[in-house]
Symmetry: C2
Subunit: 117 residues, 2 copies
């Protein structure tokens, strides 16, 4: 099986990325939009600003890292269900948090089993 | 500034990847080896097996996801300090957990600021 992990860099985000509750709510909405189930949540706060939100899923995880001083949101999503689209997760987050910004997406293919050497 | 996020897929790992305490200890040793500081920790357990360990760092994060039934360890490390090597973090983890296995490394470059459009 092949999994796609998506790392997306969202620029020119709204002030909302400095608010942990809004980030968590947006993250939950994004993963629930593709049918994923949240089973754990963490928030790490940086001084003077910046947040890392981890949403742990039945299907793996979503990590959001923010740099409010650069209006930057880093999105990292791995979904161990090929019917769930990481692009759709990124789309929901970008629409809520960075509607006027630009998103650069990186797709990384990860294999469950090694290729024959 | 440019950051390198490393996603590494470690195959043919030891049984230790099914043990949360060993994973956490190995993760802490790996990030401390490059001088990073752990400021938060989470463990998510899957049924019937599988773990996701999140170590949140002053310099961002390390996430370890295991699929013991495939002897697979997924390593995801982001270090917001260019003097700290994500390769060194992966080396420590591979030596401790997958010494007889193979590691496939993916490097993703993430920019703090968008390029001029």
């Amino acid at each position: 099986m092949l999994m796609v992990q998506m790392l997306a860099d969202a620029y020119d985000c709204d002030d909302a990325i400095a608010d942990a509750e809004i980030l968590i709510g947006s993250g939950r909405a994004a993963v629930e939009a593709v049918g994923a189930t949240v089973i754990g949540e963490t928030t790490t706060r940086y001084v003077p600003h910046g947040l890392t939100i981890g949403l742990f899923l039945a299907e793996s995880h979503l990590v959001l890292t923010t740099w409010p001083e650069h209006r930057l949101l880093l999105i990292d999503v791995l979904l161990c269900n090929p019917e769930m689209s990481p692009d759709a997760v990124v789309d929901v987050l970008a629409a809520r948090l960075c509607p006027r910004g630009r998103v650069v997406r990186h797709r990384v293919l990860r294999r469950i089993a090694a290729d024959p050497a």
